[in-house]
């Protein structure tokens, strides 16, 4: 924000630069004027609440909640899937040690989310979507970067053959190259999962001279894209024995 003295001399006489130019949006003064909650906010909340209730009510009339046959612990359905919001984690399970996929990664993600405001402590930029003009391109780049990486890794794990009929990088390192399992299923996947965001941070720092907030935007986009990429693959592209299939080839809910 603060300009160097030399710049100031050069700018003398020229039209005064707008200090808000670097921000993504310049909220007009009028928008900060305080208005009464009744009726300005309450009317919007009432309409929003009613619309949501109407939408859910319609859905409840049109689509029944699933109810399959009585639980039977001797008949394992294939595939057996967790609820949709855990399918990202279930997808991770296919690629690494279960401790890593089921506990350590989600634990680190939750702690990482909680830590965001203790790392990015700069108050300037609060209340502005993406904060700076660089925020949106950084976010879009990070989303695409993450999705491409993860789809590529998922495809590699499906099509890289390993011994004993297995497939994937971990089994390949373990069964073909004979690496111990703690390296192939824990160290290697951890290294990959750390490398992807680390390279992302490096790239946005180089390309956009990203500050701390912009690096946070890149990392949140990495988390967001990971969650949705893995969840969508787990939901729509995993069929029998959790092999990759196209959505229209998925086995129906009832076999």
């Amino acid at each position: 924000m603060s300009s160097l003295p030399s710049e100031r001399i050069e700018e003398e006489g020229a039209p005064k630069p707008n200090p808000r130019e670097r921000f993504f949006e310049d909220v007009p003064e009028d928008e900060l004027r305080r208005v009464f909650v009744w009726p300005n906010l309450l009317s919007i909340e009432l309409i929003g609440g009613l619309l949501l209730l109407l939408l859910l009510g319609l859905l409840a009339v049109l689509v029944n909640a699933p109810l399959e046959t009585l639980a039977n612990d001797e008949k394992t359905p294939d595939p057996s899937k967790a609820p949709w919001y855990f399918l990202g984690l279930q997808e991770l399970l296919l690629h690494m040690h279960p401790s890593l996929a089921g506990v350590i990664v989600p634990g680190v993600v939750i702690l990482g989310l909680m830590a965001i405001p203790y790392i990015d402590r700069e108050r300037v930029g609060t209340g502005i979507y993406f904060t700076t003009k660089k925020g949106l391109p950084i976010a879009l780049f990070s989303l695409a970067y993450t999705a491409v990486w993860e789809v590529a890794l998922i495809l590699m794990d499906q099509y890289l053959p390993a011994a004993e009929g297995g497939h994937g990088l971990g089994p390949y390192l373990h069964t073909v190259l004979g690496w111990p399992e703690w390296i192939s299923a824990i160290v290697v996947p951890s290294a990959i999962m750390l490398f992807i965001p680390a390279l992302l941070v490096l790239l946005v720092r180089r390309r956009w001279q990203a500050d701390r907030r912009e690096v946070m935007i890149a990392l949140y986009a990495f988390f967001f894209a990971s969650f949705w990429t893995l969840t969508l693959v787990g939901t729509f592209f995993r069929g029998e024995s959790m092999n990759l299939v196209l959505p229209w080839n998925l086995p129906g809910f009832t076999q």
């Binding site: 909650v37 109810l67 855990f86 989310l113």
Partner: protein, 257 residues
């Protein structure tokens, strides 16, 4: 000339019963617009006035408020379901079947509960994303952001514990997959899994545990968390407004001491 006779509505509003409940007149003037907020338990979660931007749909998208609304819908439909649901193996399954076939609005209430639960997971997640994108986690709101992440986790747990209750194939195997994941925790995984299941596999003890968590413990935990969350929104200066320069800090954020 005689006074015109008051209308029925005016007479109701002048009655001592009505005036004992609502102490303000219809809020069409600033004074009553303030009073109506200050004197109502539900409305006083809000301040009397907010920045115009806070009422803009494209700033908050109403996601936090709608999440609370979903929690209320889920509580209402959930209590209805509890009237008919039996946490018993295999009775739970038959009570759900019974709900669909011989209870008035039974299927509708179950459907509404199910879809509202999915919507709540989605909306809480989107609310977090909105707060992130607007930088509304920055100091002094960092603690409330952390509380919010905790509320997201509680929302996941509430949805997941409810998933087992119909006791059908979908429920049993989803929970088997989920508890196996928790069981892979280093060192204490086995103990966690046994505690979650009340045994070594998903069975009657699991159902009772998850039912109890779903209808009592987790909703109460969520209510406590939400109370802190809403209280801190106000204490941390209300809805976030733009800060462009250091000097602005303090002029826009009036911390309630």
């Amino acid at each position: 000339m005689a006074e015109p006779r008051p209308s029925l509505w005016e007479r109701i509003r002048e009655s001592s019963l009505y005036r004992s409940i609502y102490r303000t007149r219809y809020p069409d003037q600033p004074r009553w617009q303030s009073m109506v907020i200050l004197q109502s338990l539900a409305l006083h979660l809000h301040p009397v006035r907010v920045p115009k931007r806070a009422t803009r749909l494209t700033y908050t998208w109403g996601l936090g408020g709608l999440s609370v609304w979903l929690f209320l819908i889920l509580t209402f439909t959930g209590v209805f379901l509890m009237f008919y649901y039996v946490p018993d193996v295999p009775g739970a399954y038959f009570s759900i079947q019974n709900l669909a076939t011989s209870v008035t609005f039974g299927q509708f209430m179950r459907n509404l509960h199910r879809w509202a639960a999915h919507a709540m997971v989605l909306l809480v997640f989107m609310h977090m994303t909105r707060v992130f994108l607007t930088g509304a986690y920055k100091p002094p709101r960092e603690y409330n952001w952390m509380v919010g992440v905790g509320l997201l986790v509680l929302t996941f747990l509430l949805s997941f514990t409810g998933y087992l209750l119909p006791w059908d194939q979908l429920a049993l195997w989803a929970i088997t997959v989920g508890t196996n994941m928790a069981g892979s925790t280093p060192l204490v995984g086995g103990a966690i899994r046994t505690a979650l299941l009340g045994g070594f596999s998903v069975g009657p003890a699991t159902l009772v545990r998850w039912y109890t968590l779903h209808v009592i413990f987790l909703p109460l935990a969520l209510i406590v968390g939400m109370s802190i969350h809403f209280w801190r929104i106000r204490k941390d200066g209300g809805i976030s407004t733009p800060i462009y320069e250091e000097e602005e800090i303090g002029s826009h954020v009036q911390l309630a001491q």
